[in-house]
């Protein structure tokens, strides 16, 4: 369906000017190779700045790679970037082009610009707005909607004028659970009825685990792993994550606690530890009894998530993945 080979893009170094520090050359995507199958919901997961959006922009013909190839349904997108618009629908992070239109006109115009005639565009617009529960907002300009509603309206525009590949860059940002459910139901329907393929960019770990068939984990422009979420989690199956939240500061006068410090990831009052199950049990026993307990605010014990996979694989960013 979609084959990416050796995709590389380097942003040139920027010389510092007054008020703007110099930035070194950045390799935004570094020899990325992916193979997306038809009918899949394929995810790109990584923290902000990992190169997800740059990769997607190259795959949608919006940016020329320095090297490498992108082939979608047999078409060479690097050589013919204009063909991408006739194969895929893209939902970018920006809505400025649609902000001052009403929800209804945004969807209809997008359909017209995807080559639908006026009647088809209107019919598909009505169907999509009904499907996503946007009909009551149809006459409101996008600008006047909340962030999540606006995102949903942009998603509606992306669905008008059916395409075999949907490229969605963080589609559910700011959405409430109802809107999220509407998005995934709409995606599933297109998959079941037309075999549509979805390429999803996300930094939300929970979303990645629940909706994706396969996920490529990106870190500093490189794919550091690519498998199903369950397959990835098996790599860290032997570990349990222990989160400890201290009331004020960690009780370092307790020797058992002090000994843990080297193995912990600290973020404010929170300590995160990745331990073998029996070790975790011992830690929990220590902190829930004796002197340490007085300093403890809260603790959780959890099976590994994709975030743990990311860190175990050597992902550099300690923060940036979202669990919500």
């Amino acid at each position: 369906m979609c084959v990416v080979r050796g995709l590389t893009k380097t942003y040139p170094a920027v010389r510092g000017r007054r008020g703007a520090p110099a930035t070194p050359e950045v390799r935004a995507t570094d020899d990325v190779t992916l193979h997306i199958r038809r009918g899949e919901i394929f995810g790109l997961l990584g923290p902000n700045g990992a190169g997800k959006s740059t990769l997607v922009r190259q795959m949608t013909g919006l940016m020329r790679p320095d090297a490498g190839s992108v082939e979608i349904l047999g078409h060479d997108i690097v050589r013919h970037p204009e063909r991408a618009a006739r194969i895929l629908a893209y939902l970018g992070q920006e809505s400025t082009a649609l902000d001052e239109l009403t929800v209804s006109l945004a969807a209809e115009t997008t359909g017209r610009l995807r080559g639908l005639d006026a009647r088809r565009a209107r019919a598909e617009r009505d169907a999509v707005l009904d499907e996503l529960g946007l009909a009551p907002l149809a006459a409101r300009p996008l600008k006047k909607l909340s962030g999540g509603q606006r995102r949903l309206a942009c998603f509606a525009a992306a669905l008008v004028g059916q395409r075999p590949l949907l490229v969605l860059d963080e589609p559910t940002t700011g959405m409430d659970p109802v809107a999220r459910r509407a998005v995934w139901a709409a995606v599933d329907r297109r998959r079941a009825e037309h075999g549509a393929t979805v390429l999803l960019v996300t930094h939300n770990v929970i979303e990645a685990e629940t909706v994706l068939d396969r996920v490529a984990v990106l870190d500093r422009g490189r794919v550091i792993a690519c498998d199903s979420p369950a397959g990835l989690k098996e790599k860290v199956a032997g570990e349990v994550r222990v989160d400890l939240v201290w009331r004020e500061a960690a009780p370092l006068h307790v020797p058992e606690v002090a000994a843990l410090r080297d193995r912990t990831v600290e973020s404010g009052r929170r300590w995160t530890l990745r331990l073998a199950p029996e070790e975790a049990r011992a830690v929990v026993a220590t902190v829930t009894g004796g002197a340490a307990f007085a300093a403890l605010d809260d603790f959780t014990l959890a099976t590994p998530s994709l975030e743990d996979v990311y860190l175990a694989l050597g992902g550099a960013a300690r923060q940036g993945l979202v669990k919500a």
Binding site: M1, L62, G74, E94, E100, G115, D213
Partner: protein, 273 residues
């Protein structure tokens, strides 16, 4: 949350050799005129949401300038130049300045991605937006022209020439505005260029040309709005020389074609980086 496993889908993973059977059929391309109409309609609707206050500003500015000039100019050729210049200034304000800002912001914020990932001809996007902005100028230009004629006691007989002046000056200035907005590397620069263009149209269009130094006159001749002003001003005479009017309008049309072509090229360049 996904309930449909990929391998039970029609032609799903089981049809793994996809792509081997040759390239898939492409979706339809949007044709030029329907796409242009769709962009035009969408842009026009933005006036309701965003542009109305600025359209009033454009008109008030021009009417205000005419009232100011009333004390300085007695009548005759200078009055014609002031009224024509103020009317075309509305076109410069909206079509040049506001369109340059719009495209500058669209480009700066990544909003062009929306159009760039739709199979729409670049000319449709540029012409649709330029046409809509030229249309925004109609009420303000007409109001300015009529109130100017009443203020300076000029004949209303040939105001119909606005039917030609607005679209042709609009095309020239909107093309320039779109090109500036799409070529400017940063949105602030697009805003600046749009403002400068409008200031030039104000100073060089409204002030009577006879008293200008040679260098300023040359700048005036290079500004496309000048020819719209000249064409319009000529029609206030008792026996307008229609050949000159047509000549001026032809210059507007020529600049319009060239600047819109440049804007289309600039859009193409801005869309794929």
């Amino acid at each position: 949350m996904s309930v449909v496993p990929a391998d039970v889908l029609p032609g799903g993973v089981l049809a793994a050799g996809d792509g081997a059977a040759g390239p898939a059929e492409l979706g339809p391309r949007a044709r030029l005129w329907p796409a242009l109409a769709a962009v035009y309609r969408a842009q026009l609707s933005r006036a309701r949401v965003a542009r109305i206050p600025l359209l009033f500003v454009a008109t008030f500015q021009s009417v205000g300038i005419m009232i100011l000039m009333r004390g300085v100019v007695d009548g005759g050729g200078e009055a014609r130049a002031v009224v024509a210049g103020s009317a075309v200034l509305v076109v410069a304000f909206v079509a040049l300045n506001l369109l340059a800002q719009y495209f500058g912001q669209l480009r700066g914020s990544g909003g062009l991605d929306h159009y760039a990932t739709l199979p729409v001809p670049p000319a449709a996007v540029v012409l649709g937006a330029a046409g809509a902005y030229a249309s925004f100028t109609v009420p303000g230009t007409v109001v300015t022209a009529v109130s100017g004629c009443l203020l300076f006691g000029l004949p209303l007989a040939h105001l119909w020439i606005l039917v030609a002046v607005i679209p042709l000056a609009g095309a020239a200035l909107a093309g320039l505005g779109a090109a500036l907005g799409l070529l400017a590397p940063r949105p602030e620069l697009a805003t600046l260029l749009g403002q400068l263009g409008m200031s030039a149209a104000l100073l060089l269009g409204v002030l009577p040309a006879d008293r200008m130094p040679q260098a300023v006159k040359l700048a005036r001749d290079l500004l496309p709005s000048t020819y719209g002003v000249e064409a319009f001003a000529r029609t206030f005479g008792d026996h307008p020389d229609w050949a000159y009017v047509l000549g001026d309008l032809a210059v507007c049309a020529g600049v319009g074609v060239v600047s819109l072509a440049v804007a289309t090229w600039a859009y193409r360049r801005a869309a794929v980086r």
